[in-house]
């Protein structure tokens, strides 16, 4: 503790005396050049505050690059704060998970770091255990009916956000204001509508977390049991015994296949192939009955299946299929070509199902009779909880957030019309509280019949923040901050984030320059071995650069990239444990994947020849040249 005390009084110079290995101290982080003033983009509660240094420097902070690989936009911090609030309250206050509470969250240089709140002591754990038994027990025993009810509540929340009306701020209030309701003015309603949007954006995370840790814990029970009986079994084999064959995340891609088939049946395949944008589709197809029929089918598929983010959905910038139909249109075209070459495009559901059954009976046959009941019971519980674990992403991150971000854009369009800024996307460079300030500005000006101040205030701030954002994006954030953790044994952290003692050691080795430059180690996400040229994709908008036969290297992949998986040979991600999307999708599509490599995107360059070993969890750079 002496070190920490000294650090408080007298921050060490650049090169401190030899000491134990550690990650960088959050209070010693330098601001990247050009990013001066980044702190203004985030609320005080997200920052490392100088007077809290003794406490915060003593903790280990892990970068949450699984959910937040990119620099946070000021407004998008809404989802980050919301998500941590949701898990926190569910663990700590709703179910009273005995051994674990929530996480502290900080942003440094635009990147999100988290640190576990200390575990409760034995006395508190005992009190919590009593509550947990009652509460979690209720959920486990009524899982299916509660899950069905949950789907209803989430769908209601999604519709509610979609239906929020942004007042037009018309010249006069409508006459009904006089003759019928005499309610609040459009100015009042503007603020109320914004608050309602934030309310939903906040509450959705409680829904998101409602079943999640219970689901993961139930799965972990089966995982642990399997590893006790079969110490060498890999995680993917265990998840294959549990996972469903009709996961919602595959549904959007299935819709594209169905649309391709439909186009061929209707004889409009050529017209679809000739289009690259939605406008071209309409122009090509609206003229015939068959074309109209196909366009109707397209519309039916769109809601909800095209509310599918190109990224994790966590950033407004990821956009969704519904916002830009180019990728789905291209994918439908690919599928039409595949149909013509004789592929029937059906996913081998029966085969997957029988493989799963075969796997289970194989492992059952290796168990002693006395162990079968425990195996069957934990497997059954895992299968009960898994639909939620696999499907909640579609509801929340894809369907809900697509609606949420687009509703924010509706507000922005109004501001744009009142001269606050030029680009609809600019609103995301304001913090949520700043948007409220802008609303008050607009309320006052519209109500009085004057001009708002916004256009004189925000443009310069937005311009500067865009520069800062760019500078922060080019900075390479360390995977962890602060002291090396004594032990990493929180089971859910290990399962979800892939943070194990070995991961921490790898990070330290790489940080201290000891890592191999030609070999990366991660988790074996999906079996198989493939070689090919690498394509590094840092953001969803770079997806269209991916060429046939390349190996996708990305910070983290998203289910909506699935159509791209038809073009690639294998995938490599920086982040993710065995349950991450990249692993699930890769297994489904039979592509080798290595996830959680930590340094894939910063080590591998586009064009390099690499080998992905999805059995061993290694990636090897075979040819340093980029083949360019």
């Amino acid at each position: 503790m002496t070190t920490t005390d000294n650090a408080v009084e007298n921050p060490p110079a650049h090169e401190p005396a030899p000491r134990e290995r550690s990650f960088p101290d959050p209070y010693q982080m330098e601001t990247p050049e050009g990013a001066e003033g980044w702190e203004d983009m985030y609320a005080y509660h997200n920052r490392f505050l100088p007077t809290r240094q003794a406490e915060d420097s003593a903790k280990t902070w892990f970068r949450n690059s699984l959910h937040y690989p990119e620099v946070s936009y000021p407004f998008d911090q809404v989802t980050i704060d919301g998500a941590f609030t949701g898990t926190g309250v569910t663990n700590t206050r709703v179910f009273a998970l005995p051994p674990a509470k929530g996480l502290d969250v900080r942003v440094i240089n635009g990147y999100t770091y988290m640190s576990t709140i200390a575990s409760p002591d034995a006395e508190e754990q005992a009190r919590r255990a009593e509550e947990f038994g009652k509460r979690a027990g209720y959920y486990f025993q009524n899982w299916d009916s509660l899950y069905a009810e949950w789907e209803g509540r989430v769908t209601t929340a999604i519709r509610a956000v979609r239906d929020i009306e942004v007042p037009p701020l018309s010249e006069f209030e409508p006459i009904e204001r006089i003759t019928v309701d005499r309610g609040p003015s459009q100015a009042n309603q503007l603020l109320a509508a914004y608050h309602r949007l934030l309310e939903h954006g906040d509450q959705i995370w409680t829904l998101h977390s409602e079943f999640l840790n219970l689901g993961y814990a139930a799965y972990l029970q089966f995982l642990t049991l399997c590893k006790e009986h079969f110490p060498e079994i890999d995680d993917q084999t265990i998840s294959r015994m549990v996972s469903g064959v009709d996961v919602l995340l595959f549904r959007p891609d299935d819709e594209l296949r169905a649309l391709a088939r439909k186009a061929e049946e209707l004889g409009v395949g050529e017209l679809v192939l000739a289009a690259t944008t939605e406008a071209e589709l309409l122009a090509n197809l609206a003229g015939s009955d068959a074309g109209q029929t196909w366009l109707t089918a397209l519309d039916e598929s769109k809601d909800p299946w095209f509310y599918f983010s190109y990224g994790s959905g966590m950033y407004h910038s990821h956009r969704s299929w519904i916002d830009d139909l180019r990728l789905p249109i291209q994918a439908i075209g690919d599928y039409i070509h595949r149909l013509r070459s004789g592929d029937d495009l059906t996913r081998p559901i029966d085969k997957l199902q029988s493989e799963r059954d075969e796997l289970v009976s194989h492992y059952r046959s290796l168990l002693d009779a006395e162990d079968l009941t425990g195996f069957d019971e934990t497997l059954a519980l895992s299968r009960t909880v898994f639909p939620y674990v696999e499907n909640h992403n579609f509801y929340i991150e894809h369907w809900f957030l697509t609606n949420f971000w687009n509703k924010v854009r509706e507000f922005s369009t109004l501001f744009q019309a009142w001269g606050f800024w030029n680009d609809v996307e600019d609103i995301f460079f304001l913090r949520r509280a700043e948007v409220e300030e802008a609303i008050v500005d607009l309320q006052m000006a519209w109500s009085a019949g004057g001009n708002p101040q916004g256009g004189h205030h925000w443009p310069s701030i937005i311009k500067r923040r865009k520069e800062i954002y760019e500078a922060l994006s080019n900075w390479n954030p360390p995977p962890a901050l602060g002291p090396v953790p004594g032990e990493v044994n929180e089971p859910l952290t290990i399962m979800l984030w892939g943070i194990t003692p070995e991961t921490v050691e790898r990070w330290l080795t790489a940080q201290d320059g000891g890592g191999s430059r030609t070999q990366l180690t991660g988790f074996a996400g999906s079996p198989g071995i493939a070689e090919g040229r690498a394509r590094v994709v840092l953001r969803p908008d770079q997806l269209d650069t991916v060429q046939e036969g390349e190996i996708l290297v990305s910070p983290v992949t998203s289910p909506s990239w699935t159509p791209v998986f038809g073009r690639i040979r294998a995938s490599v991600s920086d982040i993710g444990g065995i349950m991450c999307h990249a692993a699930i999708v890769s297994r489904e599509y039979g592509l080798p994947a290595v996830v959680g490599t930590g340094f894939g995107t910063s080590t591998i360059k586009t064009g390099q020849l690499i080998r992905v070993d999805g059995n061993a969890g290694t990636v090897t750079i075979l040819d340093e040249s980029t083949g360019a």
Binding site: G133, F140, Q221
Partner: protein, 366 residues
């Protein structure tokens, strides 16, 4: 066959009291259609009748019981006297003739099958086959002798007698001198296996359970060039092949530098330990196809016995490049049971803590 010898195909695991564990197991494997080199057992009765015919029984018992288990000199002297006695007395003609005839039959049949002209000189392995259930006791009792590349009926008979004599190592005498008369007598029963030598160019060991973790879904194969002793004795670092039983599929291959090998001596008798030529040293000694073939056989053996096995095998390559697997012996691998008892050790406290709460909640307890 007669009272004193039994062909493997006449035996099964119930015959342990008659022919010892090793022979009974080999018989069982032959009957199960597993590829075991042919051979015969010299029964327990052969040694028992030999002892009775020449008054050896009482004399040997006197030596054993008279030995001072704590005196090295006394044990050594008991050993020397016993061995001299067993090797020196005349073997009853009926026993000798039956062993001789069993060997010649085996040798003739084999030469005919192989199309060679050494019909009376086919090499065999001569090994003791313990009757004791407990392998540890058997090893104390000195029932672990093995003679390889034994050629000709005279030599076979001589080695059978040496197997008998191996009951009287100083340590075996010490072990039995502490037992009651009845137990000591029981612990000095012995059978001998006479089995065709596998003319292997690759040999090794297969575990149908992971030797590192006790995982029953794993098969581990260790293999090296030449005859199997080098792997069993640990004189070379073998290649390692790890498989998942599902399939089975090869998961990991670790190729070692295999510097030495045992090969049959040029004269046809015995073996020589020699350097492996550079070209083969760092090359995998099994193809993937051979690995899978071995795994399939190992699974059949495991299924036959109903528990994980530790299997010694040898591979003989034919002129056309195909390989014939021969099983030399199979025993239950018992360590995995012990590991199973420690299985929860790898689960962290954090996990078992959380899962305790979850398990209680799912059962509606709190």
């Amino acid at each position: 066959m007669g009272k004193y010898t039994k062909r493997f195909n006449e035996l099964n695991s119930n015959d342990r009291p008659l022919v010892g564990g090793k022979c009974a197991s080999l018989g069982e494997m032959v009957q199960a259609g597993l590829p075991v080199p042919d051979g015969f057992a010299v029964t327990v009765d052969a040694y028992e009748d030999y002892r009775d015919a020449s008054d050896l029984r009482q004399e040997l018992l006197r030596i054993v019981l008279g030995a001072d288990a704590h005196s090295h000199a006394s044990l050594q002297q008991a050993h020397d006297e016993s061995v001299a006695m067993i090797l020196g007395r005349e073997l009853p003609l009926v026993i000798e003739q039956e062993i001789r005839s069993a060997y010649l039959t085996l040798s003739n049949e084999t030469a005919q099958r192989r199309g060679t002209d050494d019909s009376e000189r086919i090499p065999v392995a001569v090994r003791s086959s313990a009757t004791d259930e407990d392998g540890d006791a058997a090893s104390f009792a000195g029932q672990q002798e093995t003679y390889l590349w034994v050629v000709g009926a005279d030599d076979v008979i001589a080695k059978v007698r040496e197997c008998w004599a191996s009951l009287y190592t100083p340590q075996a005498i010490a072990y039995r001198s502490e037992l009651s008369v009845a137990d000591a007598s029981e612990a000095s029963k012995i059978s001998v296996a006479v089995q065709l030598m596998a003319t292997a160019d690759v040999a090794g060991v297969t575990f149908t359970v992971s030797p590192r973790t006790g995982d029953r879904s794993v098969i581990a194969i260790n293999a090296s060039w030449g005859l199997g002793q080098s792997v069993v004795s640990g004189e070379v670092t073998p290649d390692e092949y790890w498989l998942n039983k599902l399939g089975p599929t090869l998961t990991t291959t670790r190729i070692a530098s295999k510097a030495h090998e045992y090969v049959p001596a040029p004269g046809g008798t015995g073996v020589v330990f020699r350097d492996v030529d550079e070209a083969r040293r760092d090359v995998a000694c099994l193809t993937e196809l051979e690995v899978l073939q071995l795994a399939d056989i190992a699974l059949r053996v495991e299924k036959h016995y109903g528990c994980p096995q530790d299997i010694e095998w040898a591979l003989e390559h034919h002129a056309d490049g195909t390989a014939k697997v021969m099983l030399l012996q199979s025993r239950p691998e018992t360590n995995w049971k012990k590991r199973k008892e420690e299985k929860s050790k790898n689960t962290t406290k954090g996990t078992s803590n959380l899962l305790g709460f979850v398990a209680a909640a799912t059962k509606g307890e709190n």
